[in-house]
């Protein structure tokens, strides 16, 4: 663990990392490169990354002209924000109650949380689909959001985090005459910011990228999320037009990747802490 090593001594490590890194980046590089080329250049399968004829305007223009890109991204934002808002609204008070309050049924409730952690979201999907279809609620934001409003994982995470908060803090707030609900939102939550951001990142990444559930409950573009948008574009519009397809892929991948590049540390820590507790 030499802290100050010369470039020469560090070279093997850096070369290995660079080689592995290039492999990981290859799909991105080729995706962007293909999105800048005209189709005939793609079909020649040349290994040149830089286009001979710059075709970005045409390719990206085609995507924006043919599919409601902003509608998809907007749907993605509405769905992710809706899911996260409900998850926090339900899980933060429940996590607080489980961590700091004594009430009848608390142990059963905690047992239910632990049990819920074991069930993958694919299991309740069939009956939920039947339910939404009976209620005529397919193809709505509600159908996309409601199944994920309860996150047992969030309850578990917040409970663990709140347990570590000092009781004096809560006691003092109570002496000030604050209600329990007031304590949750104005005392406990502000102190749980690291857990809340970590969970928010975990949740948004999971639901922005989810394909399974949107594929089940959504038909047509009006409520399609970005994942579905790419899928539709791929099957209906693009066909063999890989240049336009790659442009669509770049556009739909960009929002989350940009967010990640701006707040890298938070993302990595968010996934690591939530992952380790899951």
């Amino acid at each position: 663990m030499d802290e100050r090593r010369s470039w020469l001594a560090d070279a093997p490590r850096l070369l290995l990392l660079a080689a592995l890194g290039l492999l990981v980046l290859a799909p991105y590089v080729w995706m962007v490169s293909a999105s800048l080329k005209p189709l005939d250049e793609l079909f020649r399968a040349s290994l040149a990354l830089w286009p001979e004829r710059f075709f970005a305007v045409e390719n990206y223009g085609k995507v924006f002209a043919r599919v409601p890109v902003f509608q998809y991204i907007w749907n993605g934002i509405v769905v992710c924000a809706g899911i996260l808002a409900f998850q926090l609204l339900f899980a933060v008070p429940a996590g607080y109650a489980l961590a700091k309050l004594r009430f009848p049924g608390r142990d059963i409730a905690f047992g239910a949380v632990m049990l819920g952690l074991l069930v993958p979201p694919h299991v309740p999907a069939l009956p939920l689909y039947v339910g939404f279809s009976q209620l005529g609620m397919l193809n709505t934001y509600a159908a996309l959001i409601l199944p994920f409003t309860i996150s047992v994982f969030a309850i578990f995470l917040f409970r663990q985090f709140f347990k570590a908060l000092p009781d004096e803090l809560i006691h003092a707030a109570r002496l000030d005459g604050m209600s329990e609900a007031g304590i949750v939102w104005r005392v406990v939550l502000p102190n749980a910011w690291p857990a809340a951001t970590a969970f928010a990142i975990f949740s948004v990444v999971a639901h922005w990228n989810d394909l399974f559930w949107p594929l089940i409950v959504v038909e047509g573009p009006s409520r399609a999320t970005p994942a579905l948008g790419v899928l539709f574009f791929r099957s209906d519009e693009a066909g063999d037009d890989f240049a336009a397809l790659m442009a669509a892929a770049v556009i739909m991948t960009a929002p989350l990747v940009l967010a990640f590049l701006f707040a890298q540390r938070r993302f990595v820590e968010g996934i690591a802490t939530t992952g380790l507790k899951g």
Binding site: M31, G116, V123, L231, T253
Partner: protein, 303 residues
């Protein structure tokens, strides 16, 4: 859980109990409606012949499961899932651990490489699947163009060849997961006290390999166990890449558990049969968690 007597406990027992119930009520209702009841319904469904759009249904006991046992398609799907998991789990763990160790071993480029390896975790899977489709395209794909240039006249057709499709999907799976395992290993590595390495070196562990064997690997035990379980569970769930790239084809060569479940349920609308597949999936996931707890019980763990 019934630890120390909390001072706030005596302050307002009834008020506290009421507050506790009120604060958990929204979560409890959502839990019951969105998780508990549908899960129980899915279990019940597996013992019926319910089909969407049909007027009624009958309880048929274990018929769905005996049909599963006889179903060649299901056997193929299960086998493919096992092969996929068998490739993705060890490779993404080995590469993730390798990347984490290399990153930890020095100062230069830490943030950069961590970001690079993590990028696939935050990228839209469907879009990246499309990128892979282009990369692996038999005729216009850069991979085969490069292989041809290297003198391989007939490179494989990757995603459209029944011999290569699972390996190709698994390669994409490793690419998706290695950043995730790397992050978990990095968290585990930072928890190892620096002094232990110095101590090992004093005791004669001169080479990095020896220090890895004596210090890193044993202390990383609990992390590794957790990473193994979570990677197994993540790769059993493979769905997106199959749905986007192959739809189980060619010739069912990439049919996997969740995709079969999806098709039976949402394309053929045979909900009872699909629910039976879901139960098999659930049992596999629960089995993996159970194995983890078993292994945890036997292992000494630190921290």
């Amino acid at each position: 859980m019934s630890d120390a007597v909390l001072p706030l406990r005596r302050a307002a027992p009834i008020g506290e109990a009421l507050a506790g119930l009120m604060l958990t009520a929204p979560a409890a209702i959502a839990y019951a409606v969105m998780l508990l009841l549908p899960t129980l319904a899915a279990v019940a469904l597996a013992f019926t012949d319910y089909e969407l759009g049909m007027p009624g249904f009958a309880w048929i006991g274990l018929d769905n499961f005996s049909e599963l046992l006889a179903d060649r398609g299901f056997a193929v799907s299960l086998r493919n899932t096992v092969i996929y998991v068998g490739i993705v789990t060890p490779l993404s763990i080995a590469l993730g651990l390798g990347a984490a160790l290399l990153i930890e071993a020095g100062i230069r480029g830490r943030a950069l490489f961590r970001a690079v390896f993590f990028l696939p975790v935050v990228s839209l899977t469907v879009a990246m699947a499309a990128a892979w489709q282009y990369l692996l395209h038999p005729t216009i794909g850069p991979l085969n163009a490069a292989l041809r240039r290297l003198g391989i006249a007939d490179p494989p057709f990757w995603l459209s060849s029944s011999d290569w499709v699972l390996a190709s999907l698994a390669a994409i799976g490793v690419w998706e997961n290695l950043g995730y395992t790397m992050v978990l290993f990095l968290a585990g590595l930072t928890a190892i006290p620096r002094e232990l390495y110095a101590a090992a070196q004093m005791d004669g562990a001169r080479r990095a390999v020896d220090r890895f064997r004596l210090v890193t690997w044993p202390l990383l035990g609990p992390t590794t166990l957790f990473v193994v379980t979570i990677t197994l569970i993540r790769s059993v769930r493979v769905f997106d890449t199959v749905a986007v790239l192959t739809q189980g084809g060619p010739n069912r060569a990439s049919e996997v558990l969740l995709y079969t479940m999806y098709r039976e349920g949402f394309t053929y609308l045979r909900l009872g049969y699909s629910a039976a597949i879901t139960l098999v999936f659930l049992v596999i996931v629960l089995g993996l968690v159970w194995l983890q707890t078993k292994a945890l019980d036997r292992k000494i763990h630190y921290g």
